[in-house]
């Protein structure tokens, strides 16, 4: 009754091509943005937990969402399974570190964008095998990037500016004169807004990319590469472009992770578990869906918190070492459960919900 497109006529091509053609969707997305910009910080600050809620929950959630969008472009849209996400994130993090320390006058936004471009170049290099192989062979091949890149950053001292410990703190950089957004001393609120703006803009760009010519080419390659080639899509260019753009997103996510969230640049933060976590996010969120990347990231980041905080509220006292194990069990069981219940992810549930809402209050 509330949610339907009846009566909303499109009178121009521009209106027909809008991202959110239905008024209710537009209202909804604006409400979400307003909530993210005003609501969450206000709630966090009034609860006295700015550092906790913004700094340790919302930041990783948004950054993971960005990385998930990156992987979703590659795996969900272009159909190339990758287990090397962590490696590409590490490239972004270390590229940003090298750039920020070599050119201290460079604006931090430019640093992150350049780091993303460097990650894209590395992504293209590791994307070449995708021209000959696909499926699990490709997945294992991308593991090479994961292990090789992490080893590279751990072992070659040039990347860490010859730091003795290998763990280096991110250089503090300001967006404007004194609004610091990177480094340990920066205020979580500013960090949050910085990440929010970047993630929102990049998500918007990704959404437009995947519904345009490039995205359609990716999906054609994913669904049937031979047919795609016959209708004139060049597999070489399309696949490498997917690797490049995916790595660009992952690289920026990695740079944000190291410089804004943890404030320490270390290769171990991007190990194989990170890659798998992000793969989970897009599977649980929904392959081939930008919204799904956000839902998946939220699910995977919030689930451990939920498991940590709910049993004590119910009066169950569980020893700490047991909790992590139980978390793993529940995590594993939930993944299987989700795959059985809805293999196409949370985004699909969302879609079903919208369709139901469109008919409501009638069943058919």
């Amino acid at each position: 009754m509330l949610y339907r497109e009846a009566g909303q006529f499109k009178t121009s091509y521009v209106a027909d091509q809008a991202i959110f053609p239905i008024l209710q969707d537009r209202i909804f997305i604006v409400l979400i943005l307003v909530f993210a910009v005003v609501g969450i910080p206000a709630l966090a600050i009034s609860a006295g937990g700015e550092a906790y809620w913004l700094g340790t929950i919302m930041l990783p959630l948004l950054i993971y969402a960005l990385a998930a969008i990156g992987l979703n472009i590659l795996t969900g849209y272009a159909g190339q399974v990758s287990l090397g996400t962590g490696g590409f994130m590490a490239v972004g993090a270390f590229a940003a570190y090298k750039l920020a320390t070599a050119f201290p006058w460079l604006n931090i936004v430019a640093v992150f964008l350049l780091a993303g471009l460097i990650a894209a170049a590395v992504g293209i290099m590791f994307g070449f095998p995708s021209l000959r192989i696909k499926g699990f062979y490709l997945a294992v091949a991308t593991l090479a990037s994961q292990f090789f890149l992490i080893w590279l950053f751990n072992r070659i001292p040039w990347f860490t500016n010859y730091a003795p410990s290998g763990v280096i703190s991110a250089p503090p950089r300001a967006l404007l004169s004194d609004i610091f957004v990177t480094g340990a001393a920066a205020r979580p609120l500013f960090k949050y807004y910085f990440v929010l703006v970047i993630v929102t803009l990049l998500a918007l760009a990704a959404k437009n990319l995947v519904r345009g010519r490039v995205g359609r080419a990716w999906m054609a390659i994913r669904d049937m590469d031979i047919a795609a080639e016959i209708i004139g899509i060049r597999p070489l260019r399309t696949k490498l472009l997917a690797f490049a753009i995916s790595s660009f997103y992952c690289g920026i996510a990695g740079a944000l992770w190291a410089h804004v969230y943890t404030s320490s640049v270390e290769a171990l933060a991007f190990d194989i578990d990170t890659s798998f976590n992000i793969l989970f996010m897009i599977i649980i969120g929904g392959l081939g869906s930008i919204l799904g990347s956000f839902l998946g990231a939220a699910f995977i980041t919030l689930l451990p918190l939920f498991l940590e905080n709910v049993p004590p509220k119910l009066g169950l006292v569980i020893p700490v070492n047991l909790i992590t194990n139980i978390q793993q069990i529940i995590f594993g069981a939930l993944i299987v459960f989700f795959l059985i219940a809805e293999p196409r992810g949370l985004a699909r549930l969302w879609q079903i919900g919208k369709e139901k809402l469109r008919l409501w209050p009638f069943p058919h």
């Binding site: 095998p129 000959r132 793993q328």
Partner: protein
């Protein structure tokens, strides 16, 4: 210049100067490659019969080793411990078939792959709750002292594991080639629908395959546990079986063996002779890069079927 020299010339000079040492390194590598082969074998068995890329194989190795070591700690005799662990692995096979594979039948491969990652997490947590997270020493009386054969130092334990692995592979080969169940397994691997049509019960076959993979995991777990202690790094080492699969081909049992040996020997040689020049620990990625380079030349692996589609 110096780095180039250290990479291109001095390793070969070293090999030339001291061939016994090279031989020792290669033999040591081959024998550790046997363990990679065993894990890879588990992957191949399941992939062949059900098209599932079972990420949990590494954790199954760990889980089997944990159960076995846990039983031994409770002063259970070895034969009983083996039986108990086998029973657990059979139970696991039934559980996986019932809870995971059956509801997910006819789904895409990536979904099944993800489901096995779910199994991995589950097993990891479950194993730690039941058996604790400590490193356990596993000692079932296998000889460990080194011996010298015509000037080359060989660890006796490595020989034992090679023999065990070899006999396991022989038994499996006979099982696959000569028994009715083995024929049914190969039929399912060839074509699910045709196998169903001639009356092969798919569900039973899956349970059998997962059980076989569980047995292989147990053997690998015991050997590995005796060598390194039962600990969670076993799981990470098991990831090395993935490049082995690429080298050998996802669907080939001999490929898994040969691939494991190549990876084992290759990475030891690389680590010993090239490691110092490159900063050490190149074992971590050498196998993957080798596999990657190999893929560009021969995408279907050494013995894999040529079903891989041209892109």
């Amino acid at each position: 210049m110096e780095t180039l020299y250290a990479i291109l010339i001095s390793p070969f000079a070293q090999m030339w100067d001291n061939p016994e040492f090279l031989l020792e390194v290669i033999i040591g590598g081959l024998l550790s490659g046997v363990l990679y082969s065993l894990v890879a074998l588990g992957y191949v068995l399941i992939y062949k019969a059900s098209g599932v890329f079972n990420y949990a194989q590494g954790t199954m190795v760990l889980f089997a080793a944990l159960t076995f070591a846990g039983c031994l700690d409770l002063h259970v005799p070895i034969w009983l411990a083996i039986l108990i662990t086998l029973a657990v692995m059979v139970g696991l096979a039934f559980g996986v078939e019932r809870v995971v594979l059956r509801p997910l039948v006819n789904q895409e491969q990536i979904i099944l792959f993800m489901a096995t990652i779910g199994i991995t997490y589950f097993l990891r947590g479950f194993g730690q709750i039941v058996w604790g997270a400590d490193i356990r020493n596993l000692d079932i009386g296998l000889p460990k002292e080194p011996m010298i054969v015509s000037g080359v130092l060989i660890n006796k334990f490595d020989l034992v594991s090679a023999v065990v692995a070899g006999s396991l592979v022989t038994v499996l080969a006979v099982f696959f080639q000569k028994t009715a169940v083995g024929r049914a397994l190969r039929a399912v691997a060839d074509d699910h629908q045709a196998a169903l049509a001639v009356g092969i019960p798919l569900k039973t076959i899956w349970v059998i395959v997962w059980t076989t993979a569980g047995v292989v995991a147990l053997v690998a777990g015991i050997l590995w546990g005796t060598n390194l202690g039962v600990q969670f790094s076993i799981e990470l080492v098991a990831l090395k079986a993935l490049p082995v699969l690429i080298l050998g081909g996802f669907t080939s049992v001999p490929g898994a063996i040969v691939g494991g040996l190549i990876v084992g020997a290759g990475e030891k040689v690389a680590e010993v002779f090239w490691g110092p020049a490159l900063g050490g620990a190149i074992e971590d990625w050498f196998a993957y890069m080798l596999a990657l380079a190999f893929l560009l030349i021969r995408p279907q692996g050494l013995f894999g079927e040529r079903i891989i589609e041209r892109v």
